[in-house]
């Protein structure tokens, strides 16, 4: 490259390292999450369900990013209070995955993202009175 930065991982020579052997290679973009204490672009949303929750669509969190473009975002179930005394589970519970009583959706514009939780079945024992956590990232990467 004419200009730029390459920083090799330990044990590799930056002059000859492949992109896979570099910590940074400025020819390649990265997934960037803005550090913003006022409008956190990453974090957790804790949702506490009361007894006998009602089927419906609930806005649970709004991020005013004001990027001027629709950013890519990543939202997933991160922690689930277990009802089987097996401890906390975490994982990539994909947005439309088979937790068959709730799923996630979002409304994204060039200025804000509204995360919504859709409750589809309230007869599930695992929902009523329990707490769920969700992890989100809003990336400063153009999704349009």
């Amino acid at each position: 490259m004419t200009f730029g930065v390459k920083i090799a991982l330990p044990g590799f020579d930056a002059r000859t390292a492949t992109p896979e052997q570099c910590a940074v290679d400025s020819r390649f973009d990265t997934m960037k999450v803005k550090v913003d204490p006022v409008n956190p672009n990453f974090g957790n949303i804790i949702v506490k369900f009361q007894d006998n929750p009602v089927i419906g669509t609930y806005p649970i969190y709004t991020i005013n990013h004001n990027y001027g473009y629709i950013p890519l975002y990543y939202f997933f179930f991160s922690v689930r209070d277990s009802t089987a005394n097996t401890g906390i589970e975490t994982g990539n519970f994909f947005p439309g995955d088979a937790l068959n009583f709730i799923y996630f959706q979002a409304t994204a514009t060039a200025t804000q993202i509204i995360f919504q939780l859709v409750v589809t079945n309230t007869s599930i024992e695992a929902l009523s009175g329990n707490t769920y956590a969700f992890r989100y990232y809003v990336f400063a990467n153009d999704g349009t």
Partner: protein
Amino acid sequence: MNEGFGIKVAQPGFDVNSAGDPNLYFSSNWPILKIDPKLTGTNVPLPSGHNSSITITHNLGYPPFIMLWSANNGFWPTYITSINSQTITFTNNSQNSGSNPSDLLTYYIFRLPINQNFHAQNIQANPVIPGSAPPAAGFKVAKPGKDASKSKDLRDFTINSTAKSLMVHQVFVGPVTPSGNINTLVYTPDLPYNPVYFAYYAVDNINYIPLAAASQVTPKVSYGSIANTIIINSGAVTTGTGSIIILLDPYQATNQAVVTL
């Protein structure tokens, strides 16, 4: 830092010599997830119809880490039905049957092999959460053709210390083997916090698919906080290869909003 060489950048308020991993914006021990600009897809049509598919060729020589977004569904790795060393296939499987609507896909392919073990050095992995204050000083690296001194658009930068970039702690690859009535790959993270992770599985050891934790069917992945293990479960019949990508990022951030429904 390994052999005394390298770069570390701490957040404001932290001593770079003692800051824990989450207090660092950057360390040259950790590879940042690097997007290959030649392999990025934006608004790529996925035809309608049950199980219609498209295949893209990347020719990286290894199955790469990928993130996929769907215009219809948002972040949607479910469409990824094969990642191998040459190609990636997306399949319109949003419903089990019937005529699935067409969709538009945006995907990033990263220069990170998911079939090769990698383990970054732990520096000091105490679980302090980043993001407590905006930086008064920092560093930034602009993309080719962009002016780092003038631009305020984060899209113009490879790294900018007003943002954290996703960094990799480990790629753990291993065989999925019989364990009782099922086949599993069990991994214990060596970080003192529950890390953000992704998991993949290849029944034929070649074509990987992403795994979900809430799936009602196998293959699936789960994490248990008591045993502190991530488990890939391929079910009662199939073995194969599993891959777990661990990011240097705690699952439970201090940036928390609480909602009661």
